[in-house]
């Protein structure tokens, strides 16, 4: 083995270490608790859920067909949902179609919340036992799904929707959807 060859072999640990550092560096700026949805590119799972205001009224997956829309998962026990509610009202006023899904919550509390804070949702689903939540892979409220006109899930955002998230991430994707 020549001297140069030996040097090259002995440099291997350094190279491996530096490659690992690139990933460690990138990792510093991404949140490991944020999970991507397993349902991207798939239709919204089948379900039958009551309307939040009218228990006798039933909704199913067909409500997601026809136009691009947002599906927002929320609950009154979730402080972040409170924080994003004003922003959702603003989006609704701008004409964005939002379906709300009240997740593992109390109907009375939820209706009071909507009456007091305003109701940004065109349709409000009541998922008391988290059945649709489980099928959607909801792991924490709030979550916001982008759904295209075919009822296919295109993106999921976990955490509150605010000006920055909407303009930088969600709006460009929303405009792309058909």
């Amino acid at each position: 083995m020549s001297k140069k060859q030996r040097l090259l072999i002995f440099l291997v640990p350094l190279v491996l270490f530096l490659v690992a550092c690139i990933f460690l560096f990138k990792g510093l700026f991404s949140d490991p608790t944020k999970l991507e949805s397993a349902l991207i590119g798939q239709p919204v799972p089948a379900f039958t859920l009551q309307d939040i205001y009218q228990p006798e009224k039933q909704h199913d997956a067909s409500i997601f067909k026809g136009k691009p829309m947002l599906l927002n998962v929320w609950a009154t026990w979730c402080p972040t949902c409170y924080a994003e509610h004003t922003y959702l009202n603003k989006l609704a006023a701008e004409g964005i179609f939002i379906v709300g899904m009240n997740y593992k919550d109390d109907r009375k509390k939820a209706i009071r919340w909507l009456n007091e804070l305003g109701d940004p949702y065109q349709i409000s689903l009541f998922d008391k036992d988290g059945m649709l939540g489980l099928d959607l892979g909801v792991y924490g409220a709030p979550e916001t799904y982008l759904i295209d006109s075919q009822g296919i899930i295109r993106y999921r955002h976990v955490g509150d929707v605010n000006d920055q998230v909407w303009n930088n991430t969600l709006l460009p994707l929303f405009k792309e959807m058909k």
């Binding site: 030996r6 350094l14 510093l28």
Partner: protein
């Protein structure tokens, strides 16, 4: 005033470590003995100042000085004194202060105990340790100052220590672990110093051996304590979870275990020099990597400190500087060194190299398993988890060749060994270990699984071979009674180390294969029966502690109608932190633990209870203790004892 004094002395210690990292090195370069000698004084003074700083923070905790932000967020006036003291290292800032205290302690110890070493080497080693110190002092002072005040608006009382940490296990676990992590910095510094000087000879291996052994002992005990703590405190009855933070402590241990073995080869036979140096660099580098993983928040872990990217960035920069720099130095200097000892394929050298290969393969499994989820997500393939099923599979595969070799290795001679000479003793120990394995399983195993047979056999194989090797060594030239007394301490060290490992493996095998878990609903007066034991639920009574309230659920345990013990499982509600904790009740035994945890109250007076039967779980920690005892014997071996004469001479001079 006192906290300011603490901060001030910490900054002085920083200044001293800057001097320590420059002055002696320069002296070694130009051959100025006065400058080289200054290293010892600087190292000891630095330790005194950081010790004073640590004492100041401890004082702030003892007197409940809630004007100090760190005290206010991690202590409370109701917290018992011993936990107020251990709260000093209960979170990020204080634990870093403990880290630098320990680093300064090791530095001072090297300064004081290395009188028989050439001045030049000591100067270089201490300078390298000074450099490491500078990095950590800067980290504390810039990003994590524990002395920060809450003035002018300070709270009346503190937010209390996390209840999980209010426990004897957590008083001892971090200092032990840090003694291990930081202890590897000595081997690191010796390796760097010899690379700098270009003297990669057997001498550095001999010098760094006792230090490495000391660090390894602390790390072994630290990990065992952590595992034991998790077992009794978290209420899930597990002893290892393969969590990133546990892995972060396991990786330096694997590298360190490989290192103490390869140091032996390098010292005795002068081979594998560059490999040993690389291991010495790795053991400490992995400790640093662990610090980064725990404190930067790049991985999801149950143990992680509250983290922020700024701190992560600082450690990463430090990591690149220290690890990158040392690996570069290694590439340039070590590639020029050739090992010159010779050995045949069937020799002790080969077996020790095999041990190293498998240990490092295990290290790679843990390293990849810990970091790959991060990489997987960053390259856009999505989040994945790597946990127990994966690690258990890989370790089962690796441990078989490892332990088979471990049984043979000590019998094999250096340089070369005729295979025929070993055939008879190996066959004999094979037969004995098979018999022992069968006897053990028929006595203690409720059923038979392949993994149980494998694990117990391997444990017996290593124990029997170790005993046989000791027998052969003792009767080699003398009668057994005479010979056994003539065996060196380092031989006993090896025997205990290997025996401890075998015990640990048997413990793991039995616990993993034959544990029983029952989640049951019980009304007072109910009883349930399993594994020969009858558990009778007596009921629940209220509980009041210094900073918590709660309930105690009492179970009477009978075996064959005979009273065995009473299990009192607690459920505590900590008033300040407002969280609920289960305190499991454990009846410990050599062959089994009985373990009960109290759950929620159900309807009509019933309670949910979890009962475990854990066979041989004590053997896991017992084995680890025996291993570290072995390490201690190795350190006491007369080869490493400081010779009195030179010391005295120096004292007179």
């Amino acid at each position: 005033m006192i906290p300011e004094l603490g901060q001030f002395t910490l900054i002085i210690a920083l200044g001293l470590s800057v001097l320590l990292s420059i002055y002696p090195l320069w002296g070694a370069h130009i051959g100025h003995s006065g400058m080289m000698n200054s290293a010892k004084t600087l190292a000891v003074t630095q330790f005194l100042f950081v010790g004073l700083s640590f004492a100041c923070l401890t004082y702030a905790f003892i007197v409940n000085d809630f004007t100090v932000a760190y005290v206010a967020s991690h202590s409370n006036s109701e917290l018992p004194l011993q936990y107020r003291i251990s709260a000093v290292w209960g979170s990020h800032e204080g634990s870093l202060l403990l880290w630098v205290l320990i680093l300064a302690g090791w530095t001072a110890a090297v300064a004081l105990l290395s009188k028989q070493l050439p001045l030049e080497s000591v100067a270089r080693v201490l300078a390298v340790m000074g450099m490491l110190g500078v990095g950590f002092y800067l980290f504390i002072v810039i990003t994590s100052n524990p002395f920060e005040r809450t003035l002018p608006y300070f709270p009346v009382d503190g937010r209390d220590l996390n209840p999980l940490l209010q426990d004897i296990g957590l008083i001892l676990h971090p200092p032990m672990l840090y003694m291990g992590y930081v202890g590897f910095s000595v081997a690191f510094a010796f390796a760097i110093a010899s690379l700098m000087a270009g003297q990669l000879d057997s001498a550095w291996a001999r010098w760094s051996r006792p230090w490495t052994m000391a660090a390894w002992i602390f790390l072994t005990i630290g990990i065992a304590l952590g595992s034991w703590w998790a077992y009794y405190e978290l209420g899930w009855g597990g002893w290892w979870f393969w969590d990133p933070v546990e892995n972060a402590s396991f990786m330096p241990w694997l590298a360190g275990t490989a290192l103490i073995h390869s140091l032996a080869v390098t010292e005795k036979r002068g081979v594998f020099k560059s490999w040993t140096v690389l291991l010495a660099l790795s053991a400490f580098s992995l400790s640093l990597l662990g610090t980064f993983l725990v404190r930067s928040g790049v991985l999801v872990s149950v143990h992680a400190f509250a983290s922020d990217p700024e701190r992560g960035l600082f450690i990463l920069a430090f990591l690149i500087l220290v690890i990158g720099g040392s690996l570069l130095l290694f590439a340039i200097k070590a590639s020029a060194v050739k090992s010159n000892g010779r050995y045949q394929l069937f020799s002790r050298e080969t077996f020790l190299l095999g041990n190293n290969i498998l240990l490092i393969a295990a290290l790679i499994v843990v390293l990849l398993g810990t970091l790959l989820p991060l990489v997987h997500k960053e390259i856009g393939l999505g989040s994945i988890s790597i946990g127990e099923p994966f690690f258990n599979k890989m370790f089962t595969l690796l441990i078989v060749p490892f332990m088979l070799m471990l049984g043979v290795g000590p019998l094999v001679r250096w340089k070369k060994q005729h295979a025929d000479d070993l055939l008879k003793p190996l066959l004999l120990s094979l037969v004995i270990s098979v018999l022992l394995c069968v006897a053990f399983l028929s006595l203690f195993a409720p059923s038979i699984t392949w993994l149980a047979i494998l694990g117990v056999f391997l444990g017996c194989w290593v124990s029997v071979s170790t005993a046989q090797e000791t027998w052969l060594r003792a009767t080699h030239r003398n009668a057994f009674v005479v010979g056994i007394r003539k065996l060196s301490l380092s031989h006993w060290a090896m025997a205990l180390g290997h025996l401890g490992f075998a015990i640990c493996v048997i413990g793991i095998t039995m616990t993993q294969n034959f544990s029983i878990e029952k989640d049951v609903r019980m009304v007072p007066g109910d009883s349930i029966q399993f594994q020969d034991y009858e558990f009778q639920f007596e009921g629940v009574s209220p509980l009041k502690g210094p900073n918590f309230d709660g309930h105690t659920g009492v179970l009477q345990v009978y075996k064959g109608g005979q009273y065995v013990t009473e299990l009192a499982a607690e459920k505590r509600f900590y008033r300040v932190q407002r969280n609920v904790m289960t305190e499991a009740a454990i009846d410990a035994g050599i062959t089994r633990d009985l373990y009960a945890a109290l759950g929620e109250q159900l309807d009509d007076g019933a309670w949910a209870l979890r009962i475990y039967y854990k066979p041989f779980i004590r053997w896991i920690w017992g084995g680890a203790l025996i291993m570290s005892l072995g390490g201690l014997l190795a350190m006491l071996d007369k080869r490493y004892r400081v010779r009195r004469r030179p010391v005295r001479k120096e004292a007179i001079a």
